[in-house]
């Protein structure tokens, strides 16, 4: 389905995850973040978002928390502090990639 986010028309799933990562931009990220209760995206947030987008483009999978830690060099504690209450679910939505489907 189509949705207008930050003035851009994008394709999203019912849950609001972008289906085409190339439709994403930083303004869309900021708008989704606000919807999720994150009012300002800091340098730490962008580091996670950029890693998720880069890794998703390479592997076609949303990285696990462990991969974000070991490959993305983002400590798990920081990840949870930056995106409280469901960090990878939230970060993936903001990053304009698929909903994570892994159990770990």
């Amino acid at each position: 389905m189509e949705k207008v986010i930050a003035g851009y028309t994008v394709d999203v799933t019912e849950e609001g995850y972008l289906t085409q990562m190339k439709q994403w931009n930083k303004e869309i990220a900021e708008a989704i973040a606000k919807e999720l209760g994150i009012h300002e995206l800091t340098e730490g947030h962008w580091k996670v978002i950029e890693f998720l987008r880069r890794d998703f483009a390479e592997t076609e999978k949303v990285p696990t928390t462990r991969r974000i830690k070991n490959v993305g060099n983002i400590p798990t504690k920081d990840l949870y502090d930056l995106f409280p209450d469901g960090p990878v679910l939230k970060a993936a939505k903001i990053a304009g990639i698929s909903k994570p489907v892994s159990c770990v």
């Binding site: 696990t64 928390t65 462990r66 991969r67 830690k69 400590p75 798990t76 504690k77 949870y80 409280p84 209450d85 469901g86 960090p87 990878v88 679910l89 892994s102 159990c103 770990v104």
Partner: protein, 157 residues
């Protein structure tokens, strides 16, 4: 489903010290934190091995008395079988990005999960707080455990 029906808190009991006894509880706890659900883990009986510094790295899968393994117990009893099966299973898990137990415990702790040891078992095995990894919050009585589980779901594994 209205928001009020969502699970907000889980308290998971890990009571077994085999690989297949420990992982489900850890995956449930970590998965809860990934969904923003509060998670406590209570380690009891041989489950304590998963948080005991000297043992947490050596947890093995049971090859004897475990019909689902497809290995006859007579073969499973042979020296090295358990290590072999554990090695194979660990390799599989690594491919799925499921961490080894010490790393998993650390991740759950960093994710805000709380880890506790059961007092009765700690006394039975003559263990001390120092025998456990740093991520263990406290040694609790069953009564304490129920108190901290109040308002959430309790899962026994």
């Amino acid at each position: 489903m209205p928001n009020d029906d969502k699970i907000k808190k889980v308290s998971i009991i890990i009571s077994k010290g085999s690989l297949e006894g420990v992982y489900p509880g850890l995956i449930l706890a970590n998965g809860a934190r990934m969904k923003g659900i509060e998670a406590n883990i209570f380690f009891t009986f041989f489950g304590l091995d998963a948080i005991t510094k000297k043992k947490m790295n050596k947890i093995k899968v049971a090859t004897v008395g475990n019909p689902a393994m497809g290995i006859p117990s007579l073969i499973g009893i042979m020296p090295g079988m358990s290590a072999l099966a554990s090695g194979m299973m660990k390799k599989q898990m690594e491919q799925l990005d499921i961490p080894p137990i010490p790393e998993f415990i650390e991740m759950i702790y960093d994710a805000g999960g709380k880890l506790y040891a059961c007092l009765a078992s700690v006394e039975m095995f003559k263990l001390k707080k120092e025998d456990f990894c740093d991520q263990v919050e406290d040694v609790l009585t069953v009564g304490d455990f129920y108190e901290l589980s109040a308002g959430g779901q309790i899962i026994f594994t």
